[in-house]
Symmetry: C2
Subunit: 251 residues, 2 copies
DNA sequence: GCCACGTTGCGGCGAGCGCCGAACTATCGC
DNA sequence: GCGATAGTTCGGCGCTCGCCGCAACGTGGC
């Protein structure tokens, strides 16, 4: 019987096929844990409804939960799941575009400039980082993507330790940026870099969402370490980029 | 609105959430084009039902179709979709195992030894190839996986031309083998290697499925090129491998 | 101890969807 | 041309599943 993988596939797909559950997962792509109530409000459903959905997602191995007092915190189960959700959300239906007439305005502006994408940096800043690494030949994009020897050394020097290569998570991975339509750096190195940038105050979280802003040490650090002029980058937001469509959001 | 990626995710997930459509996609993982009727019989549904499902999968960008006379041939839309389906089907639900008491017997034996997985080789043979490449330092598995310089040269020599690195498909990629529970080689190199092995008669297709057998030139070629003793490999099928569970099938 | 709040379980309603059979169209072989 | 075969379209049936409101439970603050 060829039914064993079929049930595995339909089980996972079925969990993500519902709008409410999908909204939960996309929200959790910010890499942090949310409470059941927060997710219910975020998706606009009753708490009881959210509770049932969460139970199913946990049982299906998509989410991991943790109880703290009267709160139920959930987060994505692991990076593999996060990657899967990213990949699926990035899959384009074939052409004949349903006229999506959205434009990146208002609060979306912050997300377009910089945000977290599960555990690494995305948005114009994330793309700029990936570009800077490539320009300096620390990152090589030939077939796939990989750090050069110089790149691994640079990373070790920056973080104060060689990047952890435990597990099967690739050091470098490309993640297509939805707002920029260009790839930014994901993988273990992308996560380490993002963690470092948050710890060192290069970037700070804006509010409770996924948006990032430049932190107190960011201007100097990005210039010194990667030769990125964040002021110019921010100004470049005023003049829309080439062929940037109205499509925005998660990345 | 955070709804744009949500509909993208639910649309794709919804397509894969149905058992019949999932069976279609898993069958198409062999990388070849099937007719609508073949898929209908394979999944055990009426032709009319299959027709509707196929139309939806095509409209959703999961499958590509091609009409030839009175036949409608469909195949997976691209490697990204194939990879996604592999990844999703490989996702394990958390523990507490539903007592799956399957054993690799009968016709499944052939699949366990060697088969195609979308466009590359899987099964014990596929794993042996990946191991041989690693042993000879042509392939490096450190963080992620990559060909060494010697490996690229070896590949170019074997194929008579440098491996095509066009497009964004990585040269080397790991694909978890479901029967062996160990990774085999996928990516552009895995596909090129499989194509070469079929062309040169190292392996041949068994029947109309995904199963592969050793071809007339296979014994000599695998020994010469990769130092793999296929006879010993086939004999090793008699003694079950360490901790090989009953789970079998697609990979 | 008491109340507020976050969360869970249950009953019931309504919509969506997968299934089939029957009728119809298109292609192939003779 | 004619029958056989592959595929599509349509109507209708039945089941699943997402939703809510209400009641109940546990935790934390006073």
């Amino acid at each position: 019987m060829t039914t064993a993988p079929r049930i595995a596939l339909t089980r996972l797909a079925g969990l993500l096929a519902d709008g409410t559950r999908a909204a939960f997962c996309l929200a959790l792509l910010d890499g942090r844990a949310w409470t059941a109530g927060e997710l219910a409000r975020h998706a606009g459903v009753a708490p009881s409804t959210a509770s049932e959905h969460l139970s199913r997602l946990v049982a299906g191995g998509v989410l991991a939960e943790e109880h703290q007092g009267r709160h139920r915190y959930v987060r994505l189960a692991d990076v593999a799941v996060a990657q899967l959700i990213e990949d699926m959300a990035a899959h384009d239906p074939p052409a004949d575009p349903p006229p999506t007439t959205l434009r990146a305005t208002g609060s979306r502006r912050a997300l377009t400039f910089a945000r977290t994408c599960y555990d690494h940096m995305a948005g114009r800043l994330g793309v700029a980082v990936a570009d800077a690494l490539t320009r300096r030949r620390l990152l090589e994009r030939d077939a796939g993507i990989a750090f050069t020897e110089a790149g691994v050394a640079w990373l070790a020097d920056l973080l104060g330790e060689p990047p952890a290569t435990t597990g099967r998570r690739p050091l470098a991975r490309l993640c297509l940026d939805w707002t920029e339509r260009r790839p930014h750096l994901a993988g273990a190195a992308g996560a380490a870099l993002c963690r470092h940038a948050l710890n060192e105050g290069w970037v700070t979280r804006i509010g409770s969402g996924r948006a990032l802003g430049i932190g107190p040490t960011g201007g100097e650090a990005f210039s010194r370490v990667l030769d990125i002029d964040v002021v110019a980058l921010k100004l470049s937001m005023e003049t829309p980029m080439t062929s940037s469509s109205g499509r925005a959001d998660t990345a």
